[in-house]
Symmetry: C2
Subunit: 316 residues, 2 copies
């Protein structure tokens, strides 16, 4: 019977969007005989048990992690060090310890010192999410077709990496292995910069004296609303990411600002050719993202109501 | 019979996303006895007739506009002046002349001098669109629930404004009337700045030496893909908007950059409280946009595959 399970006991520490989705996915695929969960808030623990994506909840991370064959810490990045310190004495020999944080060098810095001999610490990052948070936000399909990046440190047991790889694959992910430093650089541009820019533009719009908040909301379908989704993401999570991936983020912000200054200058001086060149160059990348299965093809992200999707190419 | 029609003859000049959608909407609501269309490209004219959102196509804007009771010019903003000059001698007395451009002061500057005595010139802007373009991109529902802003100049015949208002309402829009100068300021923040920022970030990501284009595409679901939709919009349209709404756009870019510099400083100095405050403040605005019916409530813009939407609030 136990051959049907990847793990006898999986512990999920942090029962929000990612922890909850992972519980659902593990249940759906039958990857664990028992899922033990922990969240700091009693309400969250109660709700997780009600929804049923964990089999038991525990008041401390240590109790949840005890005897687990796989421990997945799904808290904001800033809490990973303290959680690792807490569970350290309780980890089972041979267990795999992983996380889901959007930065990896800082996670290795913070969790690494608390990994006991014989425990396989493999930092991970499923690149999936929504702007929602909390135990009700999770769903089993979140990881389907999305990438999960593992960043094992040198000397990690390959069998353990393979096992974690198989686990995420069974949850629906496609798995890549990468250097932690490179991960942090890639994520700075594909995820951290977009979120920071989105937060910033929503802040700028909120602060205007000449345009009211209600006008911004009414007319948001003209572009602004696309940014508000990212700017509605969990504030604690994003504070921790900004604080823990400082150098790559500052590097990307520097490049972005330089490019924006050049673009601003082209607007001021009426350099239509320069504007046209940039605006043409960026069009192709969306097609590639849709072709790669990383976004849907329907216009407006498919949110138009009764719109039967047009078939052909454009030739205006 | 003719009481059933708002207009005997409507001319649509420019048969792309907006012109096409307007044709579909007018047909669906039965707002014209005849729709005459013009596009510069012969292929587009042929395709528009095939699809059937116009009743006739014409090689020149002048022929299309001749005898029309309503002329809607749906070209990029930079072409509005030349089109107005061309059709000027052919406009029927009592006709309404309008446009759909995303800037209004420049349109008044460019089209205004070409409006004959007895023709009612009422600049307009339906705030609706997708990232697609061309005659195949249009659909009748595009304007449903979206705002259309009219910016009549002082002295405009009120009956004509009411008629155009009723026309857009019948196409599914909600109509607002606004000063052209205020329109341009509002659109600079809700539409022009978001598009410029999106184009810029996609450009920055494309130019990196340390992160490959294929990595940007693979991992784009972590945030970046949201920007690529706006950055896939029509380059000519956006070049013309940037060239014709310079001052408000430069003003908004200035504010955005100031705010971003402050945010960058908070990241560099590890000011977690400042980051948390901004990231919390911006969350509410998305809820307001959803409540106002200007975006859908489903997470990830509803693009998750089989995801039954969770019901309740979060309490993580």
């Amino acid at each position: 019977m136990s051959g049907a399970f990847h793990f006898e006991r999986v512990a999920i520490v942090g029962l929000g969007l990612i922890g909850g989705s992972l519980g659902h996915a593990v249940k759906r695929a039958g990857l664990a005989r028992h899922i033990a969960g922990h969240a700091r808030s009693e309400a969250t623990r109660k709700r997780a048990l009600e929804i049923g994506f964990v089999d038991s909840v525990h008041e401390s991370a240590a109790e949840a992690a005890k005897d687990a064959d796989l421990v997945v810490v799904c808290t904001p990045v800033g809490a990973l060090g303290p959680v690792a310190a807490e569970i350290e004495p309780h980890l089972k020999k041979g267990a795999i310890l992983t996380d889901v944080g959007s930065v990896k060098l800082a996670v290795i810095r913070d969790m690494g010192p608390h990994v006991p001999e014989g425990v396989h610490f493999i930092p991970g990052h499923p690149i999936a999410g929504t702007e929602e948070s909390g135990p009700d936000a999770g769903f089993a399909e979140l990881f389907e077709g999305r990438w999960c990046i593992l960043t094992p440190v040198p000397g990690t047991d390959q069998a353990a990496v393979d096992k974690l790889n198989a686990f995420w694959t069974a949850c629906g992910s496609k798995v890549d292995v990468m250097e932690p430093k490179h991960h942090d650089l890639v994520l700075a541009i594909v995820s951290h910069l977009p979120h920071i820019i989105a937060y910033n533009i929503v802040g700028t719009a909120s602060d205007l004296e000449t345009v009211t908040q209600s006008e911004v909301i009414k007319y948001s379908a003209s572009g602004f609303r696309d940014f508000t989704r990212l700017a509605a993401s969990d504030p604690t999570m994003w504070r921790d990411i900004c604080l823990n991936n400082k150098e790559p983020i500052l590097e990307m912000l520097g490049r972005f600002s330089e490019d924006l200054t050049a673009l601003q200058r082209a607007i001021r001086w009426g350099d239509g050719d320069k504007l046209f060149d940039l605006f043409t160059r960026t069009r192709a990348i969306r097609r590639s993202i849709v072709d790669a299965g990383q976004d849907i093809a329907a216009p407006n992200f498919g949110r138009n109501p009764t719109h039967a999707q047009p078939g052909g190419k454009q030739d205006q």
